[in-house]
């Protein structure tokens, strides 16, 4: 059975406004690092949102958690980052003891480079060596959460042809209990920015590896950002899910035989009072899609 999920964001206003939405879903997705703070001596401790998210789950029994981070950095091999990764995994282990994550996913790319936390997943060379690095990081994660995955990210530049990414992902998720998180807005965004057909990408992807699908929206960059005046679509999770993404979902979900969850994502700071009703309608629409799969 495919479950329906929603993101929990570390913001009081977001959680309050989305209260009815939280009651309408089967699971919650959290970015573990948003529930931490770092002490001056580098220790990672839980912040108030860890307890808050746990309290939400206690109030709504039967829901489960999945973890979706951005900071572990699957594309990092640097020894300068090794101590940070160790601390990260130790902290994830404590979170896993609390939340019992069904699976843990992070983004394709490097959000830490040679010890420098860039925090935005940046693209990797699509080589056998980089695929080995990502597999090694996923194996690190599996020492804590046995079932793991990687999400197709938005990259604003690439080190290879856009359609090569699907084959690269296949190499990355070849192992047991290693999955794909297919973010349809990311795929749509990449197709807009790089000018390819989403179906050409999907044809090269092993959809039997997809464990979770993300549905979200985004926005266009400001034309003034670039001297060229060019506008690029952004993976900003701050707006309604576009029709193109809904159409993609209708086409793709039935082709993912091992799909376990469909998550509606929205960033904190982007849900005003007037956004609540349309967002709830999106969650209901996602529910209808999931029910069609039964």
């Amino acid at each position: 059975m495919v479950a329906l999920g929603f993101t929990l964001q570390p913001e009081d206003e977001f959680l309050r406004r989305c209260d009815r939405i939280l009651r309408a879903v089967d699971y919650f997705e959290i970015a573990p690092e948003t529930t931490w703070y770092e002490t001056p001596d580098g220790e990672l401790r839980e912040n108030g949102f860890s307890r808050r998210f746990n309290a939400i789950a206690e109030e709504l029994p039967g829901r489960f958690f999945v973890a979706h981070g951005v900071g572990f950095s699957l594309g990092t091999a640097s020894r300068r980052d090794a101590a940070r990764r160790r601390r990260w995994l130790d902290r994830v282990a404590l979170d896993h003891a609390r939340f019992r994550f069904r699976w843990y996913t992070d983004h394709l790319g490097a959000s830490s480079l040679d010890g420098a936390p860039v925090t935005l997943p940046l693209p990797l060379p699509m080589t056998a060596e980089s695929a080995r690095v990502v597999r090694a990081r996923l194996a690190d994660l599996q020492t804590v959460v046995p079932r793991v995955g990687v999400e197709n990210s938005v990259s604003y530049f690439l080190l290879g042809a856009p359609l090569d990414e699907a084959r690269f992902l296949d190499r990355v998720v070849a192992g047991a209990r290693v999955h794909l998180l297919l973010d349809l807005h990311n795929l749509y965004t990449m197709s807009v920015n790089f000018g390819f057909d989403t179906e050409d990408y999907l044809r090269q992807l092993n959809l039997s590896k997809v464990i979770e699908v993300h549905l979200s929206g985004g926005a266009d960059s400001d034309g003034a950002w670039l001297l060229s005046g060019r506008v690029m679509r952004l993976d900003s999770h701050d707006a309604a899910i576009p029709d193109e993404v809904w159409r993609l979902a209708e086409r793709v979900l039935p082709r993912c035989p091992n799909l376990r969850g469909v998550t509606v994502e929205r960033m904190e700071g982007t849900v005003s009072a007037r956004d609540v009703a349309p967002l709830a309608a999106e969650v209901r629409r996602a529910r209808r899609l999931v029910e069609k799969l039964r």
Binding site: E33, W36, Y37, E38, P40, G71, T76, A77, S78, R84, A110, S112, L113, D114, G115, A116, P117, V118, T119, L120, L122, L124, P125, T127, E129, S130, V133, S155, Y156, F157, L158, L159, G160, N193, S221, W225, L226, S228, R230, M232, L234
Partner: protein, 113 residues
């Protein structure tokens, strides 16, 4: 050093450089860069590199504001001066902090120098 490690190092430097496209193009010409990586870097979309660099800077900017009420007050009081100060900080101080409090402490220390 492996090709991947070399890539991490050169991208870490380039992405926070005042001109990230020029920095990556220079890396693409360097003899120490493996040929396949040189080719890939030379073909990377310059607008995409600039947008990625802007977003990296924006995320850091947000960490400073989230991590310090003092910085947030300064930005509210004089956004132009704060932004200019942050711009210099971003180019001068290597990225080292993932969490807002540490980033804000580093910015605060730097801005009082």
């Amino acid at each position: 050093m492996t090709s991947h490690a070399r890539y991490e190092r050169l991208l870490a430097k380039a992405i926070a450089a005042p001109d990230p496209v020029a920095a990556l193009r220079a890396a693409a010409r360097a003899r120490s860069t493996p040929p396949s990586l040189r080719k890939a870097l030379a073909r990377a979309d310059p607008d995409g590199i600039r947008i990625a660099a802007l977003l990296v800077a924006r995320l850091r900017f947000e960490r400073v504001l989230r991590g310090s009420a003092e910085a947030s007050d300064w930005f509210a009081r004089d956004p132009a001066a704060f932004t200019e100060s942050f711009r210099r900080y971003h180019h001068e101080v290597p990225l080292q902090d993932f969490f807002p409090a540490a980033e804000a402490r580093r910015f605060s220390t730097w801005s009082r120098l």
